[in-house]
Amino acid sequence: MHAFNYHRPTSIEDATKALAAAADGKYLAGGMTLIPTLKQRLARQSDLIDLAAIQQLRGIRDDKTGVSIGAMTTHAELAASPALRAKLGGLARLAECIGDPQVRNRGTIGGALANNDPAADYPAACLALGATIVTDRREIAADGFFKGLFETALDAGELITGVRFPLARKSAYAKFRNPASGYAIVGVFVAQCSGESRVAVTGARQSGVFRIEEMERALTKSWSPDAVAKLSVTAEGLNADIHASAVYRAQLITVMARRAVAAA
């Protein structure tokens, strides 16, 4: 790891100021991707701005319209939250199947979204549930947030402060997990919100999460596993690697979608 300066601000304002003042700074959330990347010298930062001491970025609040989650809330906290389990069970169960217990104890929802790994789990939930990503300067709809491989709509220095999820009638996530890394070979999040159903897929494309409108139309018409079981997905443009071919991933999308609807 190359040397860097370390900052531990206690407010959002101080964090954004510290980043603006740094030559090449980066926010440090749970560090589950950033620290390994720095260790391998794949990244080099002049400054790390640790967000851990900012109390404003923590916690889960729910009301009649949805659930708001602070950016520094860990996967383990999400998975264990009674409010989330009651209101958005699909999201709580998604958090429970990220990485391993120790990764869930450190990794955060805000960090994961800012990183936008193309095989990460939360992007599928955000896109399917129509979440809003809240930053220090604006609100960004999930539909416009994920811009491709490790790319998001965040501007330089912009800080995710939280995520707001509207309530869904039904939601569930089905993941075909890489047994070594825990990342999704294919993950499908399905959600039935007021009047419409949405299906979002992660792990299958290099550019990251995407929706499948044909499945959404079928589920809006009839919410049942059978509605998606016969819908095949084209393998064109899907990832092919040592873990799964594009054709296999295409098949997995249908299977995971069916399983998710059955579990919702």
Partner: protein, 160 residues
């Protein structure tokens, strides 16, 4: 250099360190607490698991400065003198190790499981060990040891 203050196994520690020092390096190289091991060094194997403010973490993927103000617990803090912690005793009784390299991480991880779930099923133990790799045992005796350790921690009244 930056100053970091924390407690390790109940004792206060203050040190001047480089921000890039990992927690596991701090424990092993600065404090000479070499019970916490470095296995894969890529946050997969779990040989480096310690507790930070009561929850298990991989100390190879955390900076020591991130533990500022925290209470860190390592394998060295478990035994009371010559008396092993019930989870350590269970690993010995059930031969839950061969080479022993993964054992400190296994024990620290197991204690975090028991904190959530005092009476874990075999399935719950196996699921929880997702982040702890053992290349010797095939896990069978580790799982037995954790079940027995959990039972011992619940006390004789709960064992029936």
């Amino acid at each position: 250099m930056i100053q970091v203050s924390l407690t390790v196994n109940g004792a206060s520690v203050t040190a001047e360190i480089e921000p890039r020092m990992l927690l596991v390096q701090f424990l092993r190289e600065q404090l000479r607490l070499t019970g916490t091991h470095v296995g894969c060094d890529t946050s997969q194997c779990g040989a480096c698991v310690v507790h930070v403010d009561g929850v298990s973490v991989k100390s190879c993927t955390m900076l020591a400065v991130q533990a500022q103000g925290a209470a860190v617990a390592t394998i060295e803090g478990l035994a009371a003198g010559e008396t092993l912690h019930p989870m350590q005793a269970a690993f010995r009784a059930h031969h839950g190790l061969q080479c022993g390299y993964c054992t400190p991480g296994m024990v620290m991880s197991a204690l975090d499981l028991v904190r959530h779930n005092p009476d874990p099923s075999e399935r719950a133990i196996r699921d929880w060990l997702d982040g702890n790799l053992c290349r010797c045992t095939g896990y069978q005796n580790i799982v037995k040891a954790i079940a027995a350790g959990a039972q011992a921690m619940r006390g004789p009244a709960a064992s029936s």
